[in-house]
Amino acid sequence: MKLTCLSKGSSFHFPPSHILTICGIRILLECPIDLSSLSIFSPIPTDSHPYPDVEFSNSSENSPISDSGCPKRRRIEGTLQASDLIRAEPWYKMVKNLQLWDVSSIDVVLISTPMGMLGLPFLTRDPRFSAKIYATEATARLGRLMMEDLISMHYEFTQVYGVEELGFPQWMKWEEIEVLPLLLREIAMGKNGAELGNWQPLYSAANVEDCVQKVQTLKYAEEACYNGSVVIKAFSSGLEIGSSNWMINGPRRNITYLSSSIFESAHAKEFDYLSLQGNDLVLFSDLSLLHGMTTLDKNAHDRKNHIRLEVNDLRPSTSSAFRDKGNDGDEFMKSLVNTNEITEEMDKLSFICSCAINCVQGGGSVLIPLSRLGIALQLLEQMSLFLESSCLKVPIFVISSVAEETFAFTNVVPEWLCKQRQEKLYSGKALFGHVEFIEEKKIHVFPAMYSSNLLRTWKEPCIVFCSHWSLRIGPVVHLLQRWRGDPNSLLVLEEGVDVDVALTPFKPMAMKVLQCSFLSGIKMQKVQPLLELLKPKIVLLPKELRMQLQAASVSSVISIYRKTCKLYYYEGETLVIPSLRLDFEADLSKDLAFQLQPRRTSQENIAVARFRGELLVSQGKHLLVSAMEPVEFQQGQLLHWGSIDQNRLLQALQEKGISGSLDNRSITDSPSLIYIDKPSRALIQISATGTIISAADEALASLIFEAVNSVLDGI
C-alpha cells in the first residue's frame, strides 16, 4: 500500500488531496480546485466601476511606456494595485501534482465534500478517464449545484471577453507572468514555478452533466463494492450536508480515511466516529489545523475598518480535562463531544448578526459572500430572527443562480441532517427556517443581479447573501463596487481569504470588513482522544502535525500510541506502508469442506487435503465453494516430500508381493538402489531428493509406485 499526498489544501474550500494505492487499486481522494487563486484575475468591469485606467498614471512605480516597446515593467515592491491583476477570462487551478499522474491509471475517486468535487469535470472530460467515482447522494447533489453556479458566474466573463480562442491564454505566456508582482506570480505558478500547468479553462455545463452521471451516489453506511474485492463505505463527517469520511475494506487492509470532521453540527449529520472503529489504518487527512496556521500569520496586521472574530483553537489544550482521567472509553467519548462546539459557533453567528443589525440601523447594507452552505443557512435563520426581534423591516436578498434549488434540496433531506433538524421533521416543521421566511417574504431569492423582479423589490439598506467568496466572480462584485465607498456598510468575509489580495480591485475601501473563522475540522485537543478511540495499528499523519502531537502527548498522561505506529506523509512524496497481513481471509463452504479427504503428514498435527472448487468474490469476501459439476480427481498423489526409509519400502513392497534386494554401495553420496526380481525385473533408485522407478511393464511400475507412495509424505 502506498500513499501520495498530492496537496495539503489550503482551506475549507480547498481540501487536501491524496492518491492511495491499495491491492493494486489506485484511489484518488478528492478532486477540488483552488478557487482562492482566482484572486490574480481582475473582476469584470461594471458600469459603476470602469477599469481604473487613471491609476496607471497615478502609480509612481509605473514608468511611462518606453521606446523599447515594453508596455509594462515589473514593479519591484509596494502594495498590490488593481492594475496589477490579470484582465482576462479566468482559468481555474487544479490540485497540484495531479497532472503528473496518468488519468487512465486512476481506478476509483472518492469525494467527501461538495468542495472536493469541483475539479472532477476536468478529469471526467478526459476521454481516458475511466475510474469509478463514489460520493454520497447529498455531496453529489450539492457539488453539482456549486459547479453549475460557478459556470453561471463565469459566464459573465465570457460576455465581456468573448469566447476564448484555443490554446494558452496571453497571460500565461512567460513574458506576462514575469512582470506580475511577486505575490501574484507565486499564486500563478507556485513557489517553485511548477504549478503553471495546473491551470485549466473552466468546464462546460455539458461536462458537469457528464461528470455527475458518472458518480455513483451512496447513502451513509451503504456498502459499495469495487471490483468485488474492495468494499467502500461513507460515514458522516459533520462538516457539511452529505460530507463524509470513508472506510475502505480490502482483503488485507481496513482503512479509515478521515477527512475534516466536526463532532457537533447545527445542520449536518454529526461526525459518526463510532462506526469508524476497528480498522487497521487511519489516514488522518483533516488538515484544517494546518490551514488555520498559515492564515493567522498572513493576517496578523490590523486594519482600522477591519473587525476580526476568531476563536483560537490551535494551541493544544492545556485544560486539565484531559489529564486526570483514566483509560476509560466512555470518558474519551465525553471529552470528544462535550466541549460546546455548537455554542461557540452559534456565538459567532450571533455576533455577525448583531454587527449586521448595527450596520443596517446605521443605514448601511450588509454583504455576505459566504459560500459555506451550512453557515449560510444558519446565518439566514439567525438573521431573520434578529431582524424580527429588533423590529426592523430590512429585506434579506439571496442572489444565486442555484439558491432556489439549494433551498428546495435542503428541506427534503432529513436523513442527512443533525438530530435537532430531524426532530423538526418528526414534529412536522420545515427543516430550515428559511422556508417560512421565504413564504413570509422576509427573504427574497433571485437567480441573478439583473433579474427584473430584483429591481422591483430592491430596497436599501438590505442584507445580501451572494457568491462568491473570492470576490472575483458572481453578484458580489457588483454589490461591492456599489457599496465599497460607504463607511456604513459591512462586508462579512470568512477567515482564510487573503483580504489584502481579495480587496485589491475595490480599493480604496471605506466599507467595514468583518472577518470570522468557523470551525472546519477536528480541534487539536480532540485528535488524540479520537485516535485512542479508533485504535488503529498504523496512523498516517501530515508531518506538520508531528511537533504538535508530540507536545500534546507529553502533556497528557495517556500514552495513546503505545500500540499505534505513526507514519508521517509529506506533500508530493510517496509513502510506502508496510503490510500487516500476508494472507487473505476466505470462507470455505460446508459442502466443499465435506468433500475434503485430509491426509496426515509425518509432521505432527498437520494434515493436508487437495481440493478443487470455485473461488467466488463478492462484497470484498472470498468464498470457496465446490464446483457445480462432480469433481473428477486424478487419483494418486502428485507431490511428495520427505525421505524414504528403505526398510519400510522393502516391507511395503513385500506386502504387494514384490521382492527385491537392497544394493547399498559404499559411496555415501550416491543414490541407493533396490533391485526387484519378482514378479519381474525392475529397479528403484532412491536418493535424498528423489526416487526413480524403472520397470518394463506398467502394472509393476504402478504397484511399486503405490509402495513408494505409502512410505512418503505426499499429496
Binding site: V412, L588, Q634, L638, Q685, A696
Partner: protein
C-alpha cells in the same frame, strides 16, 4: 447454526404482524402490530411466548418495524411502555415521522370515540418513539458486533422497507408489506440479489394476478368528473396517509389537464399535516416526483383548498377527502350522513373494508337504507364507486421476488390460509424451495449455511483468477483423441467462465486452516520435495543398418555381438547415473550431437506418424511430451535398461523418464516405441 422463527402474528391471517427470529443467539422482532378485528387480548401478539419472566430486554436484541400501518406497529407502545421493553427499535425516517400520527389517531378513536379503556397514552407514544433509531435505505447498521441489518425500499407506503438481517453467516430478509409495481407517488420494491437462508414474505394477494390499474383509474376519474359536472359532491373517505396522497395526485393532475375549477378539500387535521411530512420526505417517493421537486413539490397540491365545516352544506360541486376510511365514524360519517341522500353525489370506497363498517355495508350489495343504531338511519341514494387500490404485490410479484432472491427457505405470513397453501405449493413445485406457512404461535426451524474461516494465499488467488486453460490440457488426452482445430477452440471459451481453482488445504492443530497453491505447499510446510519419477530405457529396433549412412552412428548402437569398442567413447563409469547427469553428459558430447539428432529425428517422425495430434516437441537432444522426456542413451550399463532387447537385431536405446501425471501417456508411447523399427 439454525434459524428459529416464532410467528406471533399474521400467521395464516392478516393483522398484528409480529415474527420473532432467533439467529445465532440474537433475537429480532420484526414488526409489532395489532389486529383491527379484535377488541380482546387477541388484538396483540402473545408476548409471553418470548419471555415468560417478562424480561424482554434480555430476550430480544432489537425490534425492527417495516412501516407505519397499525397492523405492523400498533402494539409497539404497549410493548415498550406497558410490557417494559427498553432495547433498540429500528425503522426508517418516514416511519419514525409518521408512526406517532397513526398511533395517536388510533388511540383517540379507541378512547375518545369508542370510550374504551386506553392501553397506552399519548405520553407512552412519545416515550416509545424516543427509543427509535431511524435508518436510511441501504445503510448497513451494526446493531451489535454480530448483528447487522439493512433496509430496502418496499414501495408499500412511504417509508415502507424490507429488512435484511445477518448474524455470522446466516442471512434473512423480512419483507413486511411490499409492492412490486410502482404507483403514482411510490416506486416499486427494490432489493439486491442477496444470498439468503430465509425469506419471510407477505402473501396478501397470494393467488391474485392484477391487471393494469390505469383502466381503473380512468374509470374513477370519469365517475368523479361526471358527478361534479352534474353539480354533485364527491366524498372520498380515506386514511390520512398513502391512499389520500395517491388519489390526490391523480385528481390534481386531472384537474390541471382538464382545467377544472371545482374545489378539492381535505378534511382538516391529519391529512393537511400529512402533506407537510410528505413534502419533506419526497426523497422516499417515486422517481418522477423526486426528479421534479426543485421546480414544484408535488405535494403542494395546486387545486386543494382549505376546508371548513360550513362547506358541508354549501351548494355547488366539490371533492372532499375525509378521514377515517371505511366510514367507520368521525368526520367521514358526518359528511356521509349529509350527502348520501342525494343521488347527485358520489362516494368512492377502497377495495377492502372491515366487516361492520358502513363502507362494508355499502360494498356488499346496494343498500338504500343504512341503520346506524336503533333510532337513526340514513337513506342512501348517492352513487357508489369502488376503486380497488392496494399497494400490495400480487401473486406474480411474490413469485418474481422469490425467483430473484432464490433463498434456501421461504416462510409465508400476512395472508389468507387457503391462498397461502396454494402459493406454498407453487413455490415448492416451481422453484424447488422449501416453504412454510405457519399459524400464529408456531415455530419454524431452519438450517442455515455454514462456512469455515480459512486463510488463502495471494498465489492461490492469482492462479484462481487467471483463466485456466491448463485444466483443459490435463483433461484432453493428446494421443488417441485427435482433436480438430475447431473443437479445440470451443472448450477454451468455456473455460474462461469456469474459474476452477485447485489448491491444497493445510490444517494444523490450533491454527487457522490455510489454502495454498500446489507450488507453495512445500515452502509452507518447510519441507523439501521428494520427486518420484518413472524411468525406462527403451530398446528400439534398428535392424537393417545399411540404410543408415555414416560410421558415426554405429558408435551409439550396441551391436548384438557385443562389439563395444567405439561406444566406449561416451560411456560413463557410473551405472547409477541420475537422469539429470545423464542428460548433461549427452549435451556435453559434441561428437554425439548430430547422431542423436538423426536418430531422435527418426523417432520423432515415426511417433508423429503413429499418432497424429500428439503434442510431441522435438529438441536438439531430446523429445518432450508433457513430462515425458526421451533421449538417446549412450550408457550401456544404464540402470534403467531393464530389457536388453532380443538378440540378433541392432538396437538403439532411448532413455525415457516421466512423472506420475503422464503415466498412461508414457506407457502408450513406450508400447509404440517397442514395436518400432527406426530403419524402415
Amino acid at each position: 447454526m439454525a434459524i428459529e422463527c416464532l410467528v406471533l402474528g399474521a400467521g395464516q391471517e392478516v393483522g398484528k404482524s409480529c415474527v420473532v427470529v432467533s439467529i445465532g443467539g440474537k433475537r429480532i422482532m420484526f414488526d409489532c402490530g395489532m389486529h383491527m378485528g379484535y377488541l380482546d387480548h387477541r388484538r396483540y401478539p402473545d408476548f409471553s411466548r418470548i419471555s415468560e419472566s417478562g424480561d424482554f430486554d434480555s430476550a430480544i436484541t432489537c425490534i425492527i418495524i417495516t412501516h407505519f400501518h397499525l397492523d405492523h406497529i400498533g402494539a409497539l407502545p404497549y410493548f415498550t411502555e406497558v410490557c417494559g421493553y427498553r432495547g433498540p427499535i429500528y425503522m426508517t425516517y418516514p416511519t419514525r415521522a409518521l408512526a406517532p400520527l397513526m398511533l395517536e389517531d388510533y388511540r383517540k378513536v379507541m378512547v375518545d370515540r369508542r370510550g374504551e379503556k386506553e392501553l397506552f397514552s399519548s405520553d407512552d407514544i412519545i416515550e416509545c418513539m424516543k427509543k427509535v433509531i431511524a435508518v436510511d435505505l441501504k445503510q448497513t447498521i451494526y446493531v451489535d458486533r454480530d448483528l447487522q441489518i439493512r433496509a430496502y425500499y418496499a414501495g408499500h407506503v412511504i417509508g415502507a422497507a424490507m429488512f435484511y438481517a445477518k448474524v455470522g453467516d446466516s442471512t434473512m430478509v423480512y419483507t413486511g408489506d411490499y409492492n412490486m409495481t410502482p404507483d403514482r407517488h411510490l416506486g416499486a420494491a427494490q432489493i439486491d440479489r442477496l444470498q439468503l437462508d430465509l425469506l419471510i414474505t407477505e402473501s396478501t394477494y397470494a393467488t391474485t394476478i392484477r391487471d393494469s390499474k390505469y383502466a381503473r383509474e380512468r374509470e374513477f376519474l370519469k365517475a368523479v368528473h361526471k358527478c361534479i359536472s352534474g353539480g354533485g359532491k364527491v366524498l372520498i373517505p380515506t386514511f390520512a396517509l398513502g391512499r389520500a396522497q395517491e388519489l390526490c395526485i391523480l385528481l390534481d393532475d386531472y384537474w390541471e389537464r382538464m382545467n377544472l375549477k371545482v374545489p378539492i378539500y381535505f378534511s382538516a387535521g391529519l391529512t393537511i399535516q400529512a402533506n407537510m411530512y410528505y413534502k419533506m420526505l419526497i426523497g422516499w417517493t417515486s422517481q418522477r416526483i423526486k426528479d421534479s421537486y426543485s421546480i414544484h413539490n408535488t405535494f403542494d397540491f395546486k387545486h386543494v383548498c382549505p376546508f371548513d365545516r360550513s362547506l358541508i352544506t354549501a351548494p355547488g360541486p366539490c371533492v372532499l377527502f375525509a378521514t377515517p376510511g371505511m366510514i367507520s365514524g368521525g368526520f367521514s360519517l358526518e359528511v356521509f350522513k349529509q350527502w348520501a341522500p342525494s343521488e347527485m353525489n358520489l362516494v368512492t370506497l377502497p377495495g377492502y373494508c372491515v366487516a361492520g363498517t358502513i363502507g362494508h355495508k355499502l360494498m356488499s350489495g346496494k343498500p338504500t337504507r343504512i341503520d346506524l343504531d336503533k333510532d337513526t338511519h340514513i337513506d342512501v341514494r348517492c352513487q357508489i364507486h369502488q376503486l380497488s387500490f392496494s399497494p400490495h404485490t400480487d401473486g406474480k410479484g411474490i413469485m418474481d421476488l422469490i425467483r430473484f432472491l432464490m433463498p434456501q427457505h421461504v416462510i409465508l405470513v400476512h395472508g389468507e390460509k387457503p391462498k397461502m397453501a396454494t402459493l406454498k405449493g407453487k413455490i415448492q413445485s416451481e422453484l424447488g424451495i422449501q416453504c412454510y406457512d405457519p399459524a400464529n404461535n408456531d415455530t419454524v426451524h431452519i438450517p442455515s449455511t455454514q462456512v469455515v474461516k480459512v486463510d488463502i494465499t495471494k498465489m492461490f488467488i492469482r492462479t484462481s483468477f487467471s483463466a485456466t486453460p491448463k485444466s483443459i490440457k490435463t483433461g484432453v488426452d493428446g494421443i488417441s483423441d485427435s482433436i480438430s482445430q475447431d473443437s479445440a477452440a470451443l472448450p477454451l471459451i468455456q473455460i474462461g467462465d469456469e474459474r476452477r481453482s485447485e489448491g491444497i488445504l493445510v490444517m494444523e492443530k490450533t491454527k487457522k486452516a490455510k489454502v495454498v497453491h500446489e507450488d507453495e505447499l512445500l515452502q509452507t510446510l518447510g519441507v523439501a520435495e521428494h520427486k518420484v519419477q518413472f524411468a525406462y530405457c527403451c530398446p528400439v529396433y534398428v535392424s537393417t543398418i545399411e540404410h543408415i549412412k555414416g560410421n558415426e552412428l554405429s558408435s551409439i548402437i550396441s551391436k548384438p555381438n557385443g562389439d563395444t569398442g567405439v561406444s566406449c567413447l561416451l560411456e560413463s563409469n557410473s551405472p547409477s547415473l541420475s537422469l539429470a547427469e545423464h542428460k548433461q553428459t549427452l549435451m556435453g558430447s559434441e561428437l554425439g550431437a548430430s547422431d542423436q539428432c538423426a536418430w531422435l529425428h527418426r523417432l520423432y517422425i515415426k511417433l508423429i506418424e503413429k499418432c497424429s495430434g500428439m503434442d510431441l516437441q522435438e529438441f536438439s537432444d531430446h523429445l518432450q511430451l508433457s513430462s515425458l522426456h526421451i533421449c538417446l542413451c549412450p550408457n550401456k550399463d544404464c540402470p534403467f535398461r531393464i530389457e536388453r532387447g532380443s538378440k540378433g537385431r541392432s538396437m538403439a536405446f532411448f532413455c525415457c523418464s516421466w512423472s506420475l501425471v503422464d503415466e498412461n501417456l508414457a506407457w502408450r508411447v513406450l508400447s509404440i516405441m517397442k514395436d518400432l523399427d527406426l530403419s524402415q
